[in-house]
Subunit: 356 residues, 2 copies
DNA sequence: TGATATAAAGAGACCGGTCTCACAACATAT
DNA sequence: ATATGTTGTGAGACCGGTCTCTTTATATCA
């Protein structure tokens, strides 16, 4: 009933040692599970620990061992299904290896990412998985490496950084998806992304600071180019950051002289917004407009028609990143690699066949 | 280019102190931002710290201050949209107050939850938000309280525990939803949950160990009872744990002599499974069967028809829990409360009007 | 039986911060 | 000139574990 004795002060090894009438060192050996102790003493200490409800202070433990047993994860937005599923994969891989994860949100903002990384380093995480918001600013990530903390990039790669990265085969994926659209007879396509819009549209693909987005755009443009379709860059539309903006983008897009007959959404959030936009514009899929979205999100399989998607196998992506980081932490000798998880196109009903 | 000097050993206050030619105590005062130091010395130390790229060891800091700046969160399943959105709310509230969060998954398993809680306590989190898998086993949660760590229950309450809880008004919500169904003329209803099925169906509501589920069932049953509908308990179906099981549950349910004309799904995952089941059985909503789901999940607004749902305002739920915990950590004098976030029924198109 | 190996337990340094206390230097009051 | 106060700095204990080194007790061998 009453919380007598120690209303707050936590029980320490010293307390247990005193209760078990042994030295602090001996108690620590038993409780820490290292060194040698006689069975008899061990039982004594265990009994005392149980009676006192001893719980080790992991902080103190980490201090002396230098390992925290924590993996830091910096994601763009946990709320996004892509990241929450990935986190699940990372978490599973981590737990399997005896690590816990601590999550920080960057909101895709560089400065938030920077301070999150700094903080996690400060917490002495054993390793870090980061989804870099931009692939051109890498001082904070270089600092991670200099601090000797294992790092794995997730979803986006930075070749200059000489560090492991786990991503999808974004270029291939976009290429395949776009070829599919072209194969179904579409000649006027558009790629829609949530990336912040630059004034005056996209001028140079190489300027896209997010490698995943860039590769997808590259794949999309390649497919257009190989099919001799005009104005590939003009077909890339940015700024679908929320429903309102997406509605605007769509309205602009569809009121052009020769509006696209097929759309490729850069992620499932954009895909959902596009879907709603089309719905509110009274356009039907795929009769009026065809679309393909990235990510096998919940909603894509229950719409009418169900949406053709690029399956990114996000759980595997996360799991792989987790496993890779664990291997690094455990100093497994491995060459620095850019691991790509193969995606696949899941054809459902959102793409119409047009032309002859 | 080369990582000279300290290839691995992190820079400490002592290092900075030596470089700045002051005592460790003085350097610590500057770097820790406490006590008094002359501007001159302060600049000296700051310069040395910058040159050496000093980063404080938060672990050591936590050791002496006794505060870690971390809030522990134990959820059922991050992959679930309900939890990932809630985590976002918690995270936002935490960050605003200068806390970070560390997430652990229980998978709704009691023992996983227990060890997660133990581990987080060990990490000396400043507070804990837990979604208890069961509301009848509370020894580990009692231990949290005895350890003096502030605790807030999320989504489920345990009155016996005398601790803050933040939940939806589940009983009301289910009552309102069910009344809506009855009001539309439905007389044969079923409530479908993912809770593990007991042999021989549900016998006693009071035995449901998850308070959120129990309250919803209570609300559902109350509505049935007040409308003089028979067999309320028989109308509660458990075991919709995955698509396969849900298909089985649905098949059984719909092949009864007088099958239900309306379904209430206990959460959005179950809702989605039910939707898919009905789809694969060739039944149309709401002509053949009406349904209402909990949670305003992505998928519910893009189906045909869009799904009538109970809006749980999960982000607010999470945010409130985060804020409450922060208040506890900061020792704001507050009575122990069970905070309920009001939900609302969002009528869309998945409920048919039948009868006269 | 004495010398040596071996097992078990104790003493205390250490990790990297915080923080209390002592002390020095200088300013102001008496 | 001495007492008192203020401010800035240094010395060192402390947090709660781990871990090395030393000491003591017991076993093994010649």
């Amino acid at each position: 009933m009453e919380d007598s004795a120690h209303p707050k002060r936590p029980v320490t090894v010293a307390d247990v040692a005193k209760a078990a009438k042994v030295s602090k060192a001996t108690a620590a050996r038993v409780l820490g599970g290292y060194g040698v102790v006689s069975v008899q003493i061990k039982d004594q200490v265990m009994a005392a620990a149980a009676a006192l409800e001893y719980r080790p202070n992991e902080l103190a433990r980490s201090m002396s061992t230098g390992r925290s047993g924590i993996i830091g994860v910096v994601v763009g937005d946990i709320e996004n299904a892509f990241f929450s599923l990935a986190v699940r994969g990372i978490s599973d891989a981590a737990r399997l290896a005896g690590f816990n994860i601590i999550i920080a949100n960057s909101g895709e903002q560089l400065d938030a990412e920077r301070s999150a990384v700094d903080l996690l380093i400060g917490k002495r995480v054993d390793g870090l998985i980061v989804t870099p918001a931009r692939c051109d600013r890498l001082d904070h990530l270089q600092h991670v490496r200099r601090a000797g903390v294992p790092l794995v990039l997730f979803d986006r790669a930075i070749p200059e950084l000489d560090v492991d990265a786990v991503t999808g085969d974004d270029r291939e994926a976009a290429l395949t998806a776009t070829r599919h659209l072209i194969g179904q007879g579409h000649r006027r396509l558009a790629y829609v992304s949530a990336m912040d819009a630059e004034r005056g549209g996209l001028t140079d693909i190489a300027l896209i600071s997010n490698s995943a987005v860039r590769e997808r755009v590259e794949g999309f443009v390649s497919a257009l180019t190989e099919a001799d379709l005009p104005n590939p860059l003009h077909s890339v539309r940015l700024g679908a950051t929320d429903q309102h903006q997406t509605d605007a983008v769509m309205k602009r897009l569809l009121s052009e002289i020769s509006p696209p007959t097929a759309l490729l959404a850069s992620d499932s959030l954009v895909g959902l917004r596009i879907f709603k936009s089309l719905q509110s514009l009274g356009l039907s899929i795929p009769q009026d407009v065809s679309m393909i979205s990235f990510l096998d999100a919940d909603w894509t399989s229950v719409t009418v028609p169900p949406i053709t998607i690029v399956d990114q196998r996000v759980y595997e992506l996360g799991k792989l990143a987790g496993e890779r980081l664990v291997a690094r932490i455990e100093r497994t000798p491995l060459a620095v690699e850019h691991l790509r998880v193969t995606t696949s196109l899941v054809v459902r009903g959102s793409v119409a066949t047009i032309g002859r």
